[in-house]
């Protein structure tokens, strides 16, 4: 049986290559307090499904799609059984050391979901509009419009000073 080239990549390399980007996306999607949980859930789901990822897949787009889904779950507060407490003290969700732009985050939260997703996936995850269309369940044209509308709305929200 021949194994596709990408399957020979240990999952560790996927975490090393994309961990920081996924964290940025999680922090923008759910805020810094819950970002650690969203990050862990994203990589746990990805690890589970990894052997079935088709050859030639865009790994970054795949991870962001999972992160997006996990963030929606988390924001709804649904579908997640609380993880029983871990015995190891090292296993506590670590606090991110650097500060986020809280005003910007509040403005992002005020956007309609598709605009927020499009802005985050375009400007933080650097996905193409075609990929963003897939994540959001629409298409490239709609994703481009959502991103543009999202940026315009952010500008309005932020210029008011109290988003």
């Amino acid at each position: 049986m021949t194994v596709p080239r990408h399957r020979a990549r240990p999952f560790e390399e996927i975490v090393a290559e994309h961990g920081a980007l996924v964290m940025r996306v999680c922090r923008a999607l759910v805020g810094r307090v819950d970002a650690g949980d969203a990050w862990s859930e994203t990589f746990l789901s990805a690890l589970q499904a990894y052997p079935r990822l088709p050859a030639g897949s865009n790994v970054r787009g795949w991870l962001v799609t999972i992160a997006h889904r996990k963030a929606i779950d988390q924001l709804r507060g649904a579908a997640r059984r609380p993880e029983p407490a871990l015995e190891l003290p090292e296993s506590a969700v670590p606090e991110p050391p650097d500060r986020d732009d809280d005003e910007l985050r509040a403005a992002l939260d005020a956007l309609p979901p598709k605009q927020r997703g499009a802005v985050i996936h375009r400007y933080l995850a650097d996905l193409s509009y075609a990929e963003i269309g897939k994540v959001l369940g629409s298409n490239a044209t709609a994703a481009r419009r959502s991103a543009a509308d999202g940026i315009a709305n952010l500008r309005k929200l932020l210029s008011k000073g109290t988003p």
Binding site: A8, F11, S91
Partner: protein, 205 residues
């Protein structure tokens, strides 16, 4: 448009992850949760040895691979990803005990390894050879001929030698205790010099 550009720049700045997981806590937590949920097929780490860094890898069944630094560790990891599973993380989980026992062994404070082993990388006759090798005690040697016979085929001397040189678990499965009939050490996955050093260490009182 300039205002929009400023917002895009502010987005990039606002959620910077420059210091992302600097202490490794997030990744340790990922490994803990992955193991608990049964989605972590392989763990690996390196440890120091008198022969340079050793790569150790384990499945839930036990230690599956030990690689000397002479083998390209990245290539070994890649082949483990293909032959065992790509669901692997760099973590000491499952490998604390073997790491400790190897350290004791090199310090001449241990003569046998008592960790669980996963021999899935060896098949057929090679596997029979490895099972027999585990019975050769510390400080003793056997010829390739004797090993072939003990593994069930006295004529398969070359196959027995090949099983030793492809041993996925050198040190832990002591293929270094198999020597040529004339008493010279013969080949070794860690290099002939490592084999000489190990045999001298085990022979010393």
């Amino acid at each position: 448009m300039t205002a929009d550009k400023q917002i895009v720049q502010r987005l990039a700045r606002g959620f910077s992850s420059a210091a992302f997981d600097a202490d490794g806590a997030l990744r340790r937590r990922l490994a803990t949760l992955a193991e608990r949920r049964g989605v972590l097929d392989l763990t690996y780490r390196t440890v120091d040895s008198p022969f340079g860094p050793l790569l150790l890898a384990a499945t839930p069944k036990g230690v599956v691979r030990v690689a000397f630094s002479g083998e390209d560790h990245d290539a070994v990891l890649s082949s483990l990803a293909s032959e065992v599973s790509p669901r692997m993380l760099h973590t000491p989980r499952r490998l604390d005990e073997i790491s400790r026992q190897l350290e004791e062994y090199f310090a001449r404070k241990r003569r046998a390894f008592t960790v669980r082993m996963d021999l899935q990388l060896a098949h057929g006759f090679r596997r029979s050879v490895l099972l027999h090798l585990r019975d050769i005690p510390y400080g003793k040697t056997e010829s390739y001929r004797a090993v072939a016979k003990a593994a069930g085929n006295p004529f398969a001397v070359r196959a027995a030698a090949s099983a030793c040189s492809h041993n996925p678990l050198p040190l832990v499965v002591p293929c270094h205790r198999v020597v040529r009939s004339d008493g010279t050490p013969g080949e070794y996955r860690g290099g002939p010099e490592a084999k000489r050093v190990l045999l001298a260490m085990e022979a010393a009182k």
